[in-house]
């Protein structure tokens, strides 16, 4: 896993360090879960105007398959694992050791394989952040959803939108044998979690 920080904002640069470390852990977990097939890279940690969020994150009006994990409490947030249909199907097929399914409806087993992937990634991120801020984060059960990516991101941004007209989003990409896949993890912390992470990183510095 590699990561390059390109931001000039010192606060975002600090958060980038944290998410790079969390992504490293998540990459190791994903590599193990997929028998070494898949790795992760931290694409960006970015603060952007609310009005531009879905457009800038290229979610537009595409229909996506997603797994959503929520972190409950003020110090919380949302993690969304997104796939296009083809890539989601391919992942599930490789996890289950089956050919790619052709039924438009996802079976319970396929949904379970995908939500478990979300769970593994989510727990790896949560553990890394918990270690840093010394505050236990409690994720909900992962939630399988097929919908417009922008609609789901919008809901995830809602808590940040209550206190700010800008939102912070961490975006991670996936690779298989060096080739980029059309999967993403979007992590949207609440303002309180963001502050807790910044404080912890300053203490550590």
């Amino acid at each position: 896993m590699t990561s390059t920080c390109v931001t000039e904002d010192p606060k975002l640069a600090v958060l980038h360090q944290l998410f790079a470390s969390a992504t490293h852990d998540a990459s190791a977990a994903m590599c193990q879960w997929t028998d070494g097939l898949i790795t992760l890279t931290l694409d960006e940690v970015r603060e952007l105007p609310l009005a531009e969020a879905t457009h800038e994150l290229d979610l537009g009006d595409q229909l996506l398959t997603m797994v959503v994990l929520s972190l409950e409490g003020d110090i919380g947030g949302e993690m969304i694992l997104t796939f296009d249909e083809e890539n989601g199907r391919q992942l599930v097929a490789s996890l289950l050791g089956r050919p790619v399914g052709s039924d438009p409806e996802w079976s319970d087993l396929e949904k379970s394989a995908l939500t478990e992937t979300g769970n593994i990634l989510g727990c790896a991120y949560m553990n890394a952040i918990t270690r840093l801020i010394n505050h236990e984060l409690v994720p909900t059960a992962p939630y399988f959803i097929q919908d417009y990516g922008a609609s789901v991101l919008q809901q995830a941004l809602m808590v940040q939108a209550m206190t700010s007209d800008h939102v912070l989003v961490c975006r991670t990409g996936f690779h298989r044998a060096g080739e980029e896949l059309n999967w993403r993890v979007l992590f949207v912390p609440t303002a309180a979690l963001r502050e807790a992470m910044e404080r912890a990183l300053h203490r550590r510095a």
Partner: protein
């Protein structure tokens, strides 16, 4: 060779979270909604419309882009339209969105609060709601045609509805 006639293809202008956009024919205004609410105001005689992408119900006096909150978005839309000659008495509304995206057990159930706040503001300004498509657990893609005043609502896996 027959002469070719150029036909203007209407562009769909995307309206982001907290934004308000005004348009006349042949403009189409679009948004993708989850718990947010799309509020379309239309003046039939002038064929002038505005779409807002409302994020939250109540500004509580906070400084923010006016389109973000129901209590500031609708008065602001009315003001913009009136500057273009559209009186409040000639306006009609269509609204869509307000889903509970992560189900009834999800972290935030703001969708229905948004819908209630928008209905309240429209009632205060005596703007009739001609049609609405609110709630549920799925996102919506909407397109507001400023020529006809129709609001097309698409939900994944369902046939589009024309309001």
């Amino acid at each position: 060779m027959a002469a070719l006639t150029a036909i203007a293809v209407p562009q769909t202008v995307s309206v982001g979270m907290g934004q308000i956009t005004v348009g006349g024919p042949p403009t189409r205004l679009g948004a993708v909604l989850g718990s947010c609410l799309g509020v379309a105001l239309y003046h039939r005689r002038l064929r002038l419309g505005a779409l807002s992408h409302v994020v939250l119900p109540d500004s509580s006096g906070r400084e923010a882009p006016p389109g973000k909150f129901a209590d500031t978005a609708i008065p602001h839309m009315v003001e913009i339209l009136s500057r273009q000659g559209a009186s409040t008495g000639g306006l009609v509304a269509k609204i869509a969105g307000g889903a509970c995206m992560f189900g009834a057990t999800g972290p935030m159930q703001i969708g229905l609060a948004n819908a209630e706040a928008v209905r309240r503001e429209l009632k205060t300004l005596r703007i009739p709601i001609l049609a609405e498509d609110i709630g549920g657990t799925k996102g919506r893609r909407i397109i507001f045609d400023c020529e006809s005043g129709t609001l097309t609502v698409e939900i994944a896996g369902c046939r589009p509805k024309v309001l």
